[in-house]
Subunit: 127 residues, 2 copies
């Protein structure tokens, strides 16, 4: 499986797709956007921080661990750090697989595990 | 919920996102690509046909029917018809929601129901 992981402090810009093979039949993507409400309060944005080196290792381990159950051919992961205004993306993930079942399974589960295990956190401007 | 449905006979071109609101926190997307193998045989592409007017009505009913269980704010659906070469997309769906759970639930289930109920079918060049 091809794995690309990036943490950036600029707006997320999707790259053109590099197809992993002619057997790819499904591309599933997720974009997480900062909402104008956080825990019921109005916010202008969120500040994201990470232990970047460790977060990359954790994300790679998550991706490799999911590959048996949800076989995929490529995953690209981009997380923005620093200040992210409302309406802009903090996270973008693209998964390529032969079939849509594994693509969706992998994508949803890697987000769940990221939130549980990766050293990435957010602070809103009211805190 | 904003619903856009299109059947086109040209390559699928994603449009820039028009955000449904500042409360959108999740965008989930799916692209279905023609694979070089179909039922074990090597193919050069697939030919898609649809009863277009009926297919639009069925897809709209599917989307409206899913909105209670998986609340979403916008769905865009593009299905290509006619000849689609291997490596090119036959289907693109983008869903906007406040949260990722409903976005993924809506997206996966609308594909399942499309395959079951919509008058869209494929023919490969060997048939």
């Amino acid at each position: 499986m091809r794995i690309d992981i990036a943490f950036i402090s600029a707006p997320i810009c999707r790259q053109p797709l590099r197809s992993a093979s002619l057997e790819i039949g499904a591309i599933a993507e997720f974009e997480g956007i900062v909402r104008a409400q956080e825990n019921g309060a109005h916010i202008e944005g969120l500040h994201y921080e990470a232990y970047e080196g460790m977060a990359k290792k954790v994300m790679r381990a998550i991706f490799e661990g999911l590959a048996n159950e949800h076989p995929c051919d490529a995953v690209e992961f981009i997380h923005r750090l620093g200040w992210v205004p409302v309406g802009e993306s903090s996270l973008y993930i693209r998964v390529q697989s032969k079939h849509r079942g594994p693509a969706f399974g992998f994508l949803q589960e890697c987000i769940n595990r990221m939130k549980k295990d990766a050293p990435i956190w957010k602070v809103n401007q009211n805190e």
